[in-house]
Symmetry: C2
Subunit: 548 residues, 2 copies
């Protein structure tokens, strides 16, 4: 359930020297000269990409195989790679190259690789140079110290220790946002970093529609007898869990010649090149759901990254377009596909074969209900599809309040309890399972991190609905374990474009519509309406929620 | 049996601009200013070290876990890290800092960390700037192409394809050597790169003494009935082999909190920091000797690197001092210790417990003889302790002849066959198991690579003899599985000093004597004289061979 570590190309810094005025020679340049300039731009961007990829490998290794003694030097090694990459990203010479190429880009079709490259490189550059280098250094240092404190404070349920860190993280987020004035809301630049083009207002609209539909659903389900998911708990050989998860990932289209699966504490997906997109998972011997669904979640991220056009490799276009669209793919494969009844009609016999003692006596329907159990709970990362978004909205509300000054950080624990009571009808017994549970705020980012999870949920259903509309045979194929048509549609409409299009453009191009919550609410209502007694869908909330 | 990938700090390049004259302000500098200069020097050197370590991680990953699709981008990623490190290594500003610090170093005791750092950094810098950057780029490119060709040419037994590569590699080695004129022999600069202070002449003297003693030994042993080593072959569960090897490595003192063991094709040891020194091994289900002794060989390298003083971390002093001294540690632990009867008196019961079906019926003496079987063979990496050095000397002779023009590369296959016949009485049926068997010449280095293996053998016995002299209780402790006294002596006399002392200084300080072959020949004669009937040791050859 964790977000991918794929880089979205927004970096918080500014050139030492302001970019100097671009020379206006471009008009007089001949064809050869434009090609040379474009080659130089690509060369510079590829170097930045290669440094970032090397840094990403350092991170992957730290999360998988690095022995404990490696940590101090690893921090230094990662820092120098980040610094070298960043120096190149804000180099005024890069800005001059981009400026020189603008007239050339104007003459190209919007969709071409080169026009897109120049357009996106320019946006990245303009953004990067707004942030002063000393801020970047301070932010990195605080992030490390804060994360380090959190690793001890959370187990100790020690909010007092985290308070000064949270206050400084908040201050840093506000300072960062101010580099991008003017804005309508202070959270806007933070949201834009993760999901270009979205704003506090558009997320609020989206969330308001969702909340009005979800709260009654959760309320209705909570009044019913709890689902029995005991079949997912017991003793499951770890190697078999990994083998089975890997097999399903491959069946979804994950190419292990260009990827691999390892274990870690907090699952993630990372990309070193189009030929090397790795995922990680965690395996609990007593709970098969963890490894299985974490793997398939990360597989969704990996399918996106493996599917980016090879022509975009080594450029800033060679990644998924935004955090929200990325999350839509992890959710689509993990939830829409791999928690569907049709999917398990094909794959449950294979699961039974892998664990004959455990699943031999368990009916398909029992298993299907277990993996779709809805239950109000305290921990976001363990939440089901229906309640999950309420966890996100609580965090989004609280971080807006902190950012715009309505909520002092010291009052966060009480506000958290109040919010949980209101939305989920539960109150955490302590801060460990309350406002200290997530790493995000505690490692330097207050604002801009949580909303993408729910965007991902919303888009997962919208993309799936569009795929079905184009290929009504998809559900029948899934029932036969054939996932290629769906994968092909997603590759063609989403994956191959990388960062060519902003999220809103991509959604419109892929689905023919603006982003809206109707497909998602309809998906939830249909699926969980079959599993639980449900109130009728609040149609008003649905219809009124196109947000992009 | 492969050499460690630990970097010895000799790099083949030169500054773009020649180093400018150092300002002569140093005399007037106050204490604070020297400290600042020293800090800046350390900071620059640490950055170089961090970039090298990041590059080393890319290499480790490529040899262990990287999926096949990752190769093209990985080559690019490694290249940029090498380039950035190298630019910093030959930066004239680094040379100026070193020059400014020379008067300070003169005022310090030779043994201090700071005096040693300035001394070694200066030597590295002076060496690095002698090599032009365009040469470094050409050498890297040829090395990759040549290695790539070899991976296909060797299995195909295709010397004709390799011939032009070998000719160009030879040309490159000669060109490189010429940057270091004047020299007595063209191989001198190549040998000095691996083992600072040694020369063609000193290696020739060493090898002549060895050969005159070894050839009669091999001849005598070859006339006797072959040793039965069938107990090492069969079916050994791979996971159990790894577990057992890891256990022994830990008993030798390898700290797994600061290291790890993985599998690969060509075992190596690599260091990312003093807290992260990793080894790799290969496991053959049918041959337990491979995993076991490869692991213990690499453990020797790792003990050296883990034992470098923490105060030297992040500086060019923070590694083992030379290829030969490094190899002495792998050979000492693999051969002198782990192929001794006393060692297995303690550990054989543990091996039996790990593989009761295989070793239950096998007597200790049978196992001991099997792991010390002497047999003339075609392949260097599979050779035993007695014949191994003859393989090395053949290569050393041939590369000197190629370098000084006596042997055209096209005649190499025939010269190889002739040399094998003369020294080992065997002739390879093809070039695959003849002159194409090793990667070294085929990947860009003709000269300077092989001799260190034999230096390592020679020093392994000399160091061990000195340890025994200081602590006569060591053999008795090994018999009880206690390896701490030996490890402690090696740490104190060798490991902790890193690159502070050149090989010859280190040998003299550690053993009280110059490097000489007497302990090694005496070790071989005693050990294998008990296993095989042997001619008396040619005392003249032994006594006449102090070479450093």
């Amino acid at each position: 359930m964790t977000k991918t570590r794929i880089r979205t190309k927004t970096t918080r810094t500014r050139a030492k020297a302001l970019r100097t005025r671009a020379p206006s020679r471009s008009a007089g340049r001949n064809r050869r000269s434009v090609e040379t300039t474009l080659e130089e731009l690509k060369h510079r961007l590829r170097e930045i990409g290669d440094l970032d990829a090397a840094g990403a490998l350092l991170g992957w290794d730290q999360a998988t195989y690095m022995p404990p003694g490696g940590a101090p030097a690893r921090a230094r090694q990662g820092a120098i790679l980040r610094r070298l990459s960043h120096e190149r990203l804000v180099d005024p010479a890069l800005g001059r190259l981009i400026d020189e190429l603008l007239p050339h880009a104007d003459g190209l079709s919007y969709d071409t690789d080169d026009a897109s490259l120049i357009r996106v490189a320019r946006r990245d550059f303009e953004k990067a140079i707004k942030v002063p280098p000393d801020f970047v250094a301070r932010a990195n240092a605080l992030r490390s110290a804060s994360f380090d404190a959190w690793t001890r404070a959370r187990p100790a349920n020690d909010f007092a220790t985290m308070l000064p860190f949270l206050e400084r993280n908040l201050e840093l987020s506000r300072e960062y946002a101010d580099f991008f004035r003017p804005y309508d809301h202070i959270a806007d630049p933070l949201i834009d970093d993760a999901d270009e083009g979205m704003t506090t207002a558009s997320v609020r609209t989206l969330f308001a529609g969702l909340r009005s539909a979800l709260v009654p659903m959760v309320h209705a389900i909570s009044e019913q007898a709890p689902t029995d998911d005991s079949c997912l708990h017991g003793v499951f050989a770890e190697a078999t869990q990994l083998d089975f998860s890997r097999t399903i990932a491959e069946r979804m289209g994950y190419d292990l010649q260009r990827g691999r699966l390892d274990t870690t504490h907090h699952p993630f997906c990372t990309k070193f090149s189009i030929g090397d997109v790795r995922i990680t998972t965690r395996v609990y011997e007593s709970d098969i759901g963890q490894a299985l669904f974490s793997t398939l979640h990360e597989t969704g991220h990996a399918l996106y990254e493996q599917g980016v056009s090879a022509a975009l490799e080594g450029t800033p276009l060679g990644y998924g377009t935004s955090a929200g669209v990325h999350e839509s793919q992890s959710r689509l494969w993990e939830n829409v596909v791999a928690r569907s009844r049709k999917f398990w009609q094909h794959f449950y016999p294979l699961l039974r074969k892998a664990f004959p003692d455990r699943f031999g006596p368990v009916a398909l329907d029992t298993f299907y209900r277990a993996v779709n159990k809805v239950e109000r709970s305290l921990i976001r990362t363990e939440a089901d599809e229906v309640t999950y978004n309420l966890h996100i909205m609580l965090r989004f509300d609280l971080e807006l309040q902190m950012l715009d000054g309505r909520l002092p950080v010291k009052d966060l624990p009480e506000a958290w309890r109040e919010g949980m009571r209101a939305d989920l009808g539960l109150v955490p017994p302590d801060d460990r399972d309350g406002c200290l549970q997530d790493v995000h705020w505690c490692s330097g980012a207050i604002g801009g991190a949580f909303h993408s999870y729910t965007i991902g949920n919303v888009l997962s259903a919208q993309f799936y609905a569009a795929a079905i509309e184009a290929h009504p045979e998809i559900p029948g194929e899934i029932e036969q374990g054939r996932l290629g048509t769906l994968h092909g549609w997603l590759s063609d409409r989403i994956y191959r474009h990388g960062r060519k299009y902003q999220p809103s453009e991509l959604v419109k191009r892929a689905t023919g519509r603006l982003m809206n919550t109707e497909p998602y609410l309809s998906y939830l209502h249909t699926k969980f309406g079959e599993l639980y007694r449900m109130p009728p869908l609040q149609a008003a909330g649905v219809a009124a929620s196109p947000v992009l």
